[in-house]
C-alpha cells in the first residue's frame, strides 16, 4: 500500500469523524437489524470510541466504512450475548412480515443459527452486497454465499414440511 493509499496520520481522526458522521444512521440501522433493539443508537455511538483507539490500524481508506460496520456488528453481538445470559423472551429484529407465505417468516428467520440469520438480514434485509456483508461480519464472500444458500434451504424445508403437515 503506497503512502497515497493510507489514512494520513495527522488526518486520521478527521477522516474517521467525517466517515462516522456519514454512516451513523447506517450503523444504527445495522445494529437494530441484528437485534440491538432500542440500544441500536447507543451502540452506534460507541463505535467511534473503539474506532478512534484503533484508527491507526486502518491502512486503506476505502475500507473504513466496512471496518466501522464490523465494529458495530461485534458490539451488537456482545450486547446480545450479555442479554441472553440474563434474560430470555422477546427479541426485536427486522424481517419481512407482510408476505404470502403460510408460515411466519420472521419466526423462521429468528429460528436460524446466528450466522445465517445475520447474513440473510444484511443481504436481503439491508441490501448489502455479499462482499459488504462479508466485510461487516468478518467472514469470506464465499461463506456469505454458502450461508445464504443454507438459510434459504432451511426456510424452504420448513415451508415444505408445514404444507405437507397441513
Amino acid at each position: 500500500m503506497g503512502v497515497e493509499g493510507t489514512l494520513a496520520s495527522d488526518g486520521r481522526q478527521e477522516d474517521l469523524d467525517a466517515a462516522y458522521q456519514r454512516h451513523f444512521a447506517d450503523l444504527a440501522r445495522l445494529c437494530r437489524a441484528l437485534g440491538a433493539g432500542r440500544d441500536a443508537e447507543d451502540l452506534a455511538q460507541e463505535v467511534p470510541i473503539h474506532a478512534r483507539a484503533h484508527v491507526q490500524d486502518v491502512r486503506d481508506p476505502a475500507r473504513l466504512e466496512g471496518w466501522l460496520r464490523a465494529i458495530a456488528v461485534r458490539k451488537t453481538y456482545r450486547l446480545k450475548a450479555r442479554r441472553n445470559s440474563i434474560r430470555l423472551g422477546n427479541e426485536e429484529m427486522v424481517a419481512p412480515v407482510d408476505t404470502d407465505l403460510p408460515i411466519d417468516l420472521a419466526a423462521a428467520i429468528a429460528r436460524l443459527p446466528a450466522r445465517e440469520r445475520s447474513v440473510l438480514t444484511l443481504v436481503q434485509g439491508l441490501g448489502y452486497s455479499q462482499a459488504g456483508a462479508a466485510e461487516a461480519l468478518g467472514i469470506r464472500r464465499g461463506t456469505v454465499a454458502a450461508t445464504l444458500a443454507h438459510a434459504r434451504a432451511k426456510i424452504a424445508t420448513w415451508l415444505i414440511d408445514y404444507e405437507r403437515g397441513r
Partner: protein, 478 residues
C-alpha cells in the same frame, strides 16, 4: 478426506434459479424428472419473493432453544452418548426426533404452532448398527479428519473436537458464542499419535494423544478458496500455508524453507504433495460463479516440483461451501488425482471430472455423459451415467470402461471396497448400507457427505435427518 457428490441440484443453485437465474441443460433435465428438486425450487421461489418484500422492525418470541444442545455438552460424555443412542433407536423405530435437535419456535402464522412432522418410516430391517449422533452440526464444523489408523477423528470449524472411534469426546475447543469470531480452526494429522490444529490467523499447535502440546514457530495463513492450507501426510510431516502462495513443511521439530504453492493433498505414501500454483482466481462475478486455480506436484522431502498440469483449471463454485481442494482425491495407488471440478483453459465454460496423471502431468477427462463417484480400492474410477434415473455403474481406468457390480444408486464406497452406501431407489431420503450385497441398515436421512476412516470400519455421516437441518453421526461397522 472429504468426499462430496451432487445427487440433486444444490440449494445455492436452486436459490439462484429461483431468483431468475437460467438453468443449465443438465439442471433442466434433472428438474423434469426429480419431484424433490422441483418442489424445492418452487419453495425457493416463494421464499425469494417473500424475502424481497419490505423488511420492518418486528418482535419475535425466541425461547433460545438453540442453546440447549450446547448446554447438554456439560453432561458426562458417556451419559450423553447413551441418551443420544437411545433417542436414535427410538427415532429409528418410528418415534419423534430428539427434542434437543428441534428448536421449537412457532412458525405457523395461522395456528400459532407448527404441525408435527409425520414420523419417519421405520427401517425395514432390524439393525445391529447404532449411529452415535455427534454434538456438532454440519454447518459450524466444516472439516472432518480421521487419524491414519482410524482410531480418532477431529472435526473443526468455529471450534474443534477430538473424539475416539466410539464417539467419546477427548478434547475440544468449544464452538464460539456468539458465532462471530476472529478465529477459524482447521485440523490435520501428522501421524496416528499427533494432530495439528491451525487457528486462523496465526498459530499452529501440535497435540499428542499422550497430552503433549507444542506450538512450532510456523505462521499459519490458511483458508483461501483453495482450501484450509494445513495438511498432514500421516507420516510425521505437516504442510502449512504461510501465505496464499507459499508453504512450509514442519517435520521432526523443524520447519522447511518457504516453498511456492498452496498445500492441498498429500499422496497416500506421503512422498508427494499436490499444491495450487497461484492464488485462486476470483472472477468477481456471481454470473460465472467459480474460482479456479492451477496445480502441481511437489516431492517430499526434497520439496521440488515434479509435475505440472498444463492447460487446465481446477474449479469450485462460489455458492458451494467446499473449497477447490475438496474436489481432489489421490487414487489409492497414488498414481493419479481425481479432480471433479476441472475445465480446459481453452474451453472454460465446461467443467467436468478428470484424472491427473501424477507421473506425466497429463490430464484425461472422464468420458462425456459420465460422472465420477470416486476411487475404488483397485485405483479404478467408479463412474455413473449422467441421467436423471440411476443407471448401471462402470469402472474406468482412464482409457476403458468395464461394468461394476455395485448398485446404481451407490453414493460412496469404503476404502476397502467391502461396503457401499446407496440411496434407496424408492425414497432418496434413505441411506442404505450394503455389505457384500446384503443390506444391513437403512437410515432415514438425506446424505450430504461421508467421511470414511482409512480402514473403512467407521464413517462420519453429514446428513439431514427428518426435521433436523444438519447432523453429524458416527457409525461403526465393526
Amino acid at each position: 478426506m472429504r468426499r462430496f457428490w451432487q445427487r440433486h441440484i444444490s440449494e445455492g443453485d436452486l436459490a439462484a434459479l429461483a431468483d431468475g437465474g437460467a438453468a443449465t441443460a443438465p439442471q433442466e433435465s434433472h428438474l423434469a424428472g426429480c419431484p424433490r428438486c422441483a418442489e424445492r425450487l418452487a419453495a425457493h421461489r416463494r421464499i425469494g419473493r417473500a424475502l424481497a418484500t419490505e423488511w420492518v422492525n418486528t418482535t419475535v418470541s425466541v425461547p433460545h432453544a438453540r442453546t440447549a444442545p450446547r448446554a447438554a455438552l456439560a453432561l458426562p460424555v458417556a451419559a450423553l452418548a447413551a441418551v443420544l443412542a437411545a433417542a436414535l433407536v427410538f427415532r429409528g423405530i418410528g418415534g419423534p426426533a430428539t427434542p434437543s435437535q428441534t428448536p421449537t419456535v412457532g412458525l405457523a402464522s395461522e395456528t400459532g404452532s407448527r404441525p408435527p412432522t409425520p414420523p419417519p418410516t421405520p427401517s425395514p430391517l432390524p439393525s445391529p448398527v447404532v449411529p452415535v449422533e455427534l454434538p456438532a452440526d454440519g454447518l459450524t464444523m466444516n472439516s472432518i479428519h480421521w487419524s491414519p489408523d482410524g482410531k480418532h477423528v477431529i472435526y473443526a470449524g468455529l471450534g474443534w473436537e477430538l473424539l475416539d472411534d466410539a464417539g467419546t469426546l477427548l478434547k475440544r475447543v468449544p464452538l464460539a458464542t456468539p458465532h462471530y469470531v476472529d478465529v477459524m480452526y482447521e485440523g490435520a494429522w501428522l501421524d496416528s499419535s499427533h494432530y495439528a490444529i491451525g487457528a486462523e490467523p496465526g498459530t499452529v499447535t501440535i497435540y499428542g494423544l499422550d497430552g503433549s502440546e507444542v506450538q512450532p514457530p510456523v505462521v499459519y495463513r490458511g483458508h483461501t478458496v483453495n482450501g484450509p492450507g494445513i495438511v498432514g501426510n500421516g507420516r510425521g510431516a505437516l504442510s502449512v500455508a504461510a501465505a496464499p502462495t507459499s508453504f512450509v513443511v514442519w517435520a521432526n521439530g523443524s520447519a522447511s524453507k518457504d516453498v511456492p504453492g498452496f498445500p492441498l493433498r498429500w499422496s497416500p505414501d506421503g512422498t508427494r504433495l499436490l499444491v495450487a500454483t497461484s492464488s485462486a482466481q476470483d472472477p468477481g462475478s456471481m454470473a460465472d460463479g467459480a474460482w479456479w486455480d492451477t496445480v502441481a506436484l511437489v516431492s517430499y522431502p526434497d520439496l521440488e516440483q515434479t509435475a505440472t498440469f498444463e492447460g487446465i483449471q481446477l474449479v469450485a463454485n462460489v455458492d458451494q461451501g467446499p473449497s477447490i481442494g475438496a474436489f481432489l482425491e489421490f487414487s489409492p495407488d497414488g498414481r493419479s488425482v481425481l479432480s471433479t471440478g476441472t475445465r480446459r483453459q481453452s474451453a472454460p465454460g465446461s467443467t467436468g471430472a478428470a484424472i491427473l496423471d501424477a507421473a506425466t502431468g497429463r490430464t484425461t477427462f472422464v468420458p462425456d455423459k459420465l460422472g465420477a463417484i470416486g476411487w475404488l480400492p483397485n485405483s479404478r474410477l467408479l463412474v455413473r451415467p449422467m441421467t436423471v434415473a440411476p443407471g448401471p455403474l462402470q469402472e474406468w481406468d482412464g482409457s476403458s470402461l468395464s461394468p461394476s457390480d455395485l448398485p446404481p444408486t451407490t453414493l460412496s464406497v469404503s476404502p476397502t471396497g467391502a461396503l457401499a452406501v446407496a440411496a434407496s431407489t424408492t425414497d432418496q431420503n434413505v441411506i442404505r448400507f450394503v455389505v457384500d450385497g446384503t443390506t444391513i441398515m437403512d437410515l432415514q436421512e438425506s446424505a450430504m457427505e461421508i467421511d470414511w476412516s482409512p480402514d473403512g470400519s467407521h464413517l462420519i455421516l453429514v446428513g439431514q435427518p427428518p426435521d433436523v437441518a444438519w447432523a453429524l453421526s458416527l457409525i461403526s461397522l465393526r
